[in-house]
Symmetry: C2
Subunit: 296 residues, 2 copies
């Protein structure tokens, strides 16, 4: 059975692969590597870049940390004292063009000294303008990978994403969803090795599904009204990440590395008091589409 | 003894007075009044404006709401069931010029059907560039008003502001502090009428202390690097408001009116991965000044 060293190493390779593919897809993107150590144990490599042809700000972060389970972790994760190991890859890409969606991916592994472990992760798509055909392409690709491992995964994980990526104070989903899973461990239907394989396959899928979205949007021109709309939608992304995202909040409150956690924020965001889209506009269609349980 | 109707009416007048003074100070600012009702009882008037000579985005909100104490309120405010009444005035001003500080003020009154009540409030200053002389002027003015009511107020309330307006994940205070108080009720040294008078006097002081700050900064030119710094500091303001501000979080989670709560966000904010100011720069001086317990 795979151990934590192999998982860490698989995630580290995944980061490299994704960065390299994203540079190919963008055509003019450079990641700057920031290697950091954590005083209490472990460290990471946060790769960030700016102002590509397509990606305005992108971050692909790898980390592998260990140490004593803190009181905050005991409370939040409902566990006892002990020693933990955690490794993962997190990605958020903010494109320049409003017709290319924001995208996020995360895979992670957590292990305790008592032998307990689990995997978690997810991919979700946040189009500035919802295009049903593109949302469907995205979901179809996720469904295909899920079905290879367990035919119950997709429907479970997509409902989970709708619940997780939701902004109650706006009564909006963050985007068109995707999949989200947590506390995934071996069972009668899946081994630990297969779960890792599932995570890696999702990670490998990530740049490919993003490329599809990029190709469909990157050459469409953007008006100044659309640019304004992009920046307001980025404001919503900030709201979700800072107010609602349990991962971000847990990271910030438990003493995680602030810069690596907040690399998810857009380079620029706007807020406008009580902005209302025009009737029958694409903006209005988008807002109406940001609901739980949409089937793409 | 004053009752809730008089307090509501005093706060409503305070909103009018402050808006009128801010328009005079700016010289080219118009507030748009947004009157709203709350389904469960009460409502408010949110006055917001954009693109004055000095104020780029400003909001002065009044509300007076009532209804059943919700489960969320019982938990957060550690109280039993019953009927509540709450009224207050909240202000946040984001100036255009980096040499004029962001400012916030709030006064509020809360009453329960069992007769319990309290006042709360605060004023705090968030300069993009800390100028000790200006911070001192601001604190002196607050100290003078506090001392008229209780000589223990200023030292207590300024320490409270340092604790409240703090961003743990950045290890920074939001700005140069000010005063913050909560759960203030009559005692041997102050009557209920006097507490209201204290709140109104702080409210009346607000435009005057802001005018001093505006006059000192508004004519200083702003370089493009300083503009970038302003937008990064606005990003921190967003972080505090969405991650740390207990008032904002309570409002959003308890079903408060989202647009009125989030009028506090800047029109535009930037984030840059791991931005480090140059050594011995004004930006570095500012970061070093954002600590608890600075005595101005």
């Amino acid at each position: 059975m795979i151990d934590k060293t192999q998982i860490r190493s698989a995630f580290e390779s995944l980061q490299k692969h994704i960065c390299s593919r994203l540079c190919e897809i963008d055509g003019n993107f450079v990641f700057h590597e920031d290697n950091w150590k954590r005083t209490e144990g472990g460290g990471g490599r946060t790769n960030v870049g700016l102002n590509g042809n397509v990606i305005e700000k992108g971050g692909v972060a790898f980390s592998a940390v260990h140490g004593s389970v803190t009181l905050e972790m005991q409370e939040q994760l409902k566990m006892g004292a002990g020693v933990f190991f955690a490794t993962g890859v997190s990605i958020v890409l903010h494109p320049n063009n409003v017709h290319v969606p924001i995208i996020h991916m995360n895979v992670r592994y957590f292990e305790l000294s008592n032998g307990t472990y689990w995997f978690g992760g997810g991919i979700d798509l946040t189009p500035h303008y919802v295009v049903p055909k593109q949302a469907k392409m995205f979901h179809d690709a996720l469904r295909n990978v899920c079905d290879k491992y367990d035919t119950s995964f997709y429907s479970k994980f997509t409902a989970w994403a709708d619940d997780y990526f939701f902004i109650p104070h706006r009564n909006e989903t963050r985007g068109v969803g995707g999949i989200f899973f947590d506390q995934l461990k071996e069972s009668e239907s899946i081994t630990k090795d297969q779960i890792l394989q599932f995570c890696i396959e999702l990670g490998n899928l990530f740049p490919e599904v993003y490329e599809e979205q990029v190709l469909l949007g990157k050459n469409t021109e953007m008006t100044s009204d659309q640019l304004k709309w992009r920046n307001l939608r980025r404001g919503r992304y900030v709201e979700f990440n800072l107010v609602n995202d349990r991962g971000t909040k847990f990271g910030l409150h438990s003493g995680g590395r602030t810069e690596s956690i907040l690399m998810s924020l857009p380079p620029l965001a706007n807020w406008e008091y009580d902005f209302m889209p025009q009737e029958n506009s694409q903006e209005e269609f988008t807002l109406k589409s940001l609901v739980k349980g949409a089937s793409w």
